[in-house]
Amino acid sequence: MATAVLDLELENLPPNVSVSGHYTKAFVLLRYKGRPEGKIILDVRNGIVEITENLSKILNTVSHTLWQSQVHAYLNWDEKAVAGYTLPGATIAVCTRDRPDDLERCLEALMRLPDLGQEFLIIDNCPSTDATQKLVAAYPRVRYVREDRPGLNVARNRAMREASNEIVAFTDDDATPDAGWLKAILLNFSYPLVQCVTGLTMPLELETEAQETFEKFTPFGRGFRRILHSENTLNPLATGRIGAGANMALRKSICHEVGFFDEALDAGTPTHSGGDHEIFTRILVAGYTIIYEPAALSWHRHRRSMQELESTLYGYGVGVYALLTRHLLINKEWGVFKIAFNWFWYSQLKSLVKALLKRPGAIPAPLILAELKGCLAGPGLYFKSRKKLKARAAHV
């Protein structure tokens, strides 16, 4: 039941693609002149993905954005190319913890990025071995920083402080950025109000059922249109649709205006996730803009086993409710009740009923239940995490 992942350029389509025999489906990312335009799942027949035969299907999936890209190509037009803009310097930060295999793939991809004067920064978060340090030593351009306090947001804050360039681009250790990733991100900072850019994340592999399930129901991708999010277009408390921390970039200066990442949140703490979405809220409330840029493409390796997937979804539930608790507690945002209700009523309840009725295309019930369990535990775990943080601070 594995799915092959393909990356095809529309201008240069092959009549068919042969894939390894164990694949029954193919997940195809379609690009036009390097820009992602759409994705489609095609059948594999005898190890061959027919492209010519499925051309109409392919064109239908990209029809919403492709015509505009074609016109822009014809006009040689780029709305981001404003007068008098030079690309700012960037620091690419990877926060990692005991995953040298994934990190090596990520580093290889980073080394392939075209040189825009970027700095590479590895934040090794509370490692149990020195495998990461040894690995990084093989890459002379990469700076290794060890952060002993556990927590992804702690590591992120460290990266923000350590970075020597204006833009800090984060990627996860289990992601491999595409060659055009950094440039696509930096082009968007031409607008002074843009403080954050998020990108499109596609699956690196879909070998197991867990990975397929994840990509089907909770994908990282947020579509193929470039979207400007601001307070006027989006409720700042509902930041889920903006993107994810696995593929985002921030201006270094933003931390002095809206504050650093909340260290009680995200992986490595009891709250599991939510640190990225929490800072998005603060950025939007401060009147700034966040851009979702599909051209900033990165490939993410999803969790391989069903168990890991379940705990990931549990973590999402915890993270969302933890960050809602934070908004209520610290910023007195009464709107969080509405957000929580809407999420439950319009999304979770619906999928739960669908799953229990075993409708075709429904999310597996254990996953929803795990998420709901996480939601219930969320506020409590946030307080626990804060207490832990305070205790550690007192200890130091």
């Binding site: 201008e11 009549p15 010519t52 051309l55 109409s56 064109l59 239908n60 029809s63």
Partner: protein, 430 residues
């Protein structure tokens, strides 16, 4: 009221169209490399020509997305495939069932003779004729004349299948004109081994009378849109499957002949010539779907149909539609291919609830509520009609020698017989 029906081919370039003063508007089928893309309607009451600019403007407004799609297709077609692969041109038997409509049939046969395809034969099945006109007409033409004395369109169809020499059988009616590339489209779709049957776009051949307008624009005509669809049980719910059956149209359909062995022949209790007055074709398509076969709606497979010209004929047809659709649902139930609950839900929600109710509440422009009531009346008659036609079918079947029934389903397609020889054979038979 009169509307002229035309087609334009984009790849041949657009030119201004001189307007015939007798027509109030032009209904134009736009095609690109023979593929129908869509209809455009241009009112022409005040002008004496449709300029090229105007034509372009209307085409862009109406079917802009399809234009784009075709242009993108050309641009992004994989390099090697730009030379089209030679399609297996399997022989096709074209079966035309007719009854006492020689004028229509003559026109239909004229278009069949212009078909561009290497191997095919034409079989005219004369269904319980009351005179010899059809025989006389076909004498001297490169067609095979077969006479089927048992009245009923499905008897004629089954007879046609029995007489066919090739592995694909294509059906059309005597009141239709086929497109020049009809058989090419059929062969191309059936080149896919998954597909067992194909049906296509039915365009109005003329829109001269009010009855034809009502049927085409108010009732919806016989066309089912311009997108290619592959229909199979895997992707459809029961209700969708019942609806999908009605995508198939007897005037424009083709099957692999071998498939009839698995699914059986057309249900002789149904269709024109029996009390049920129709639905033999849609019942066949539903049976295919329910047994897990795939069928395709391909708009490239084009037939021009002459709708009923006079209002009484139209009223009868719409009444027949109601009656036959009811018979179709009852047959589906009797064949036990699908749950009764699905049929009931489909009957109440989709047919009565959506189709009749919507048409009655807000009839589309030339359609009046009268026709909806007529169709409903037809529907109410369907249980009776079903029983009557069952009895009728049994009566006829009793007369038929039993070996005759199954004899025509052969495993091996017979060696292709050139049309000339067939001609001689029929002549000697006569």
């Amino acid at each position: 009221m009169q509307t002229k029906v035309l087609e334009v081919e984009l790849s041949e370039g657009l030119t201004a169209i001189q307007v015939d003063a007798a027509y109030k508007s032009y209904h134009i089928l736009v095609r690109y490399n023979r593929l129908p893309l869509g209809w455009i309607t241009i009112p022409t009451a005040q002008v004496n020509q449709i300029t090229k600019e105007h034509l372009e403007e209307v085409i862009k407004n109406k079917i802009g997305y399809r234009l784009l799609h075709q242009a993108q297709r050309r641009q992004f077609m994989p390099v090697q495939a730009s030379v089209p692969a030679a399609h297996t041109s399997e022989g096709i038997s074209v079966i035309v069932c007719t009854r006492n409509r020689t004028q229509f049939l003559a026109r239909c046969l004229d278009t069949l003779f212009t078909l561009e395809y290497p191997t095919f034969e034409i079989i005219v099945v004369d269904n319980a004729p009351s005179n010899n006109d059809t025989l006389e007409l076909t004498t001297g033409m490169p067609v095979r004349y077969v006479r089927e004395d048992r009245p009923g369109l499905d008897w004629a169809r089954n007879r046609g299948i029995a007489e066919a020499n090739y592995s694909i059988v294509a059906f059309t009616d005597d009141d239709a004109c086929v497109d020049k590339f009809w058989l090419q489209a059929i062969a191309k779709t059936l080149a896919d081994p998954d597909v067992t049957a194909v049906t296509g776009l039915v365009a109005p051949a003329e829109l001269e009378t009010r009855a034809q307008h009502i049927f085409e624009f108010g009732y919806g005509g016989m066309g089912h849109g311009f997108s290619y669809r592959k229909l199979s049980r895997k992707t459809l719910s029961d209700r969708q499957m019942l609806r999908s059956g009605s995508v198939g149209i007897g005037v424009n359909m083709a099957f692999r002949r071998a498939i009839f062995q698995q699914t059986g022949l057309f249900d002789t209790a149904l269709d024109v010539g029996t009390p049920s007055c129709g639905a033999g074709d849609i019942e066949m398509f539903f049976r295919l779907l329910s047994k897990g076969y795939t069928f395709v709606y391909d708009p490239a497979m084009l037939v021009w149909h002459t709708h009923r010209q006079h209002l009484p004929e139209l009223q009868k047809q719409i009444k027949d539609n109601g009656r036959s659709f009811g018979c179709y649902l009852i047959t589906c139930f009797k064949n036990k291919n699908i749950k009764l609950s699905s049929i009931l839900i489909f009957f109440l929600l989709d047919w009565i609830g959506t189709w009749h109710f919507r048409n009655f509440l807000k009839p589309r422009a030339p359609l009046s509520r009268k026709f909806v009531l007529i169709e409903l009346a037809g529907m109410l008659q369907s249980p009776g009609a079903y029983r009557a036609s069952q009895a009728y079918a049994c009566k006829i079947a009793a007369k038929t020698p039993s070996e005759d029934k199954q004899a025509y389903i052969r495993n091996e397609p017979a060696a292709p017989v050139p049309s000339q020889q067939v001609q001689e054979k029929t002549n000697s038979n006569a």
